[in-house]
């Protein structure tokens, strides 16, 4: 085992060295972080400028089954509006494409859906950027049927 003994002068020298070494580095790190933030903000502002604002609404936003675990059938009305004309597609259960619009600032659709559970609907433009999303939740009257657990009394 190696033991290092420090005298008081040696300790002062070590503290000085640490000050010189670490403070400039930490300052640089802060500056670097700041610069990254600035760059990120700029990029974000750029994204905000480039991406149109869009909002999608769904109705109804809830579907009720008799028993938990049953697929829920519902006819969903979609309405979306965008601040700009966009080419966009609506995606639903398991990412399935439901409808596309070639050049529009608004759109609507009325689509029959069978939902395995609560489902997110996403409006995505032709560059693959998500413009907006909304969900339809699935509720039920009776709780889930039994699990696979087995047991016996006798």
């Amino acid at each position: 085992m190696t033991v290092i003994y420090l005298t008081s002068s040696g300790l002062r020298s070590l503290l000085l060295l640490a000050t010189l070494v670490f403070f400039p580095l930490s300052g640089f790190a802060q500056d670097s972080q700041k610069n990254d933030d600035v760059a990120g903000d700029a990029a974000a502002e750029s994204d905000v400028i480039e991406q149109p604002k869009a909002e999608i609404k769904v109705s109804p936003n809830r579907c009720v089954t008799l028993r938990q675990g049953q697929p829920c059938f519902v006819r969903v009305r979609f309405n979306w509006q965008s601040s700009e004309v966009v080419k966009a597609c609506l995606y639903g259960v398991e990412g399935k494409e439901l409808k596309c619009w070639q050049a529009s600032s608004e759109g609507n659709a009325y689509i029959a859906q069978t939902l395995p559970n609560t489902t997110e609907y996403v409006l995505i433009n032709d560059e693959g950027v998500e413009l907006s999303r909304a969900s339809v939740s699935v509720a039920w009257v009776y709780k889930k049927k039994r699990s696979k657990r087995r047991w016996r009394l006798f």
Binding site: V64, L66, A139, R146, L153
Partner: protein, 261 residues
């Protein structure tokens, strides 16, 4: 008009419930629900003077604590049941069952017949096996009177199938219930001490009742469901001979809104 259970309403509590609510999760230790139903019923009852149209308010519920359960179901044959789930497998579930059941003709159907139709509810003990295989449900039940009301016995076999179409839950059920002579005679017989000129002495033997049922259940919301049910009954000949039974079969249609909590 408030009317309780008719001649025999549904065939077995659990299969009537299971075709709508599904198999219960027996692994949940503490679970249950309460139901209040408002029903309109069209009857073609083989009872003299029976109303064709009746309205009912039904209270029911189900509660399970570990393996013990109590069950009161508005559409049940056994109005109140309790028991112990003795075995639960992937397909079969076996219950040790106690039940309180007032079978026979509802005395409210014809007040003139009250002397013959107002019977005591019997207390039963027995066993029930229910099989679940995809959309199919099978149930077998054997019960014996342990309350000394009539000392009779009941044997029931039922099969049901469910279909789902756009949140509409359809079901069909076929059932047969054998009742011993003591059971049927208590419900439909007329003792010498009760007999009149219009309703002479009658002693019923054993017999089997058959039922065919179709139903639809639709969830209106998380707490309200719509139920419609049509049933066709074929009564045993031992019952048809009773002076206050006018036909060997009858039909009922019911529609109800049920609040589930």
């Amino acid at each position: 008009m408030l009317l309780q259970v008719l001649l025999v309403s549904a065939f077995a509590a659990d299969i009537s419930r299971d075709v709508r609510a599904g198999r219960e999760d027996e692994s949940i230790e503490n679970d249950g629900y309460l139901e209040v139903s408002f029903s309109a019923i069209l009857n073609e009852m083989p009872i003299p003077g029976a109303d064709r149209y009746v309205g009912t308010i039904g209270l029911g519920g189900h509660y399970r604590y570990k393996r013990f359960f109590i069950d009161a179901h508005a559409e049940s044959y056994n109005q109140f049941q309790f028991g112990l789930n003795a075995y639960s497998g992937d397909i079969w579930s076996v219950d040790l069952l106690g039940a309180s059941s007032e079978h026979g003709v509802d005395s409210e159907l014809n007040r003139e017949l009250i002397a013959f139709t107002q019977r005591e509810p019997a207390g039963y003990l027995g066993v029930r096996a229910t099989g679940y295989n995809g959309p199919f449900i099978f149930q077998f039940e054997a019960l014996g009177d342990v309350s000394d009301v009539h000392d009779g016995a009941l044997l029931t076999a039922s099969a049901a199938r469910t279909w789902l179409y756009h949140n509409w839950n359809f079901h069909a059920l076929l059932g047969a219930r054998f009742e011993s002579a003591k059971t049927l005679d208590y419900q439909f017989g007329i003792d010498p001490i009760e007999a009149t000129a219009a309703y002479p002495v009658y002693e019923a033997g054993s017999g089997t009742t058959f039922v065919t049922e179709f139903g639809v259940t639709y969830p209106l919301s998380e707490n309200f469901i719509l139920k419609t049910t049509g049933r066709w009954w074929e009564l045993p000949s031992a019952v048809v001979g009773s002076p206050f039974i006018t036909n060997d079969s009858y039909l009922t249609f019911s529609a109800s809104i049920t609040f589930v909590y």
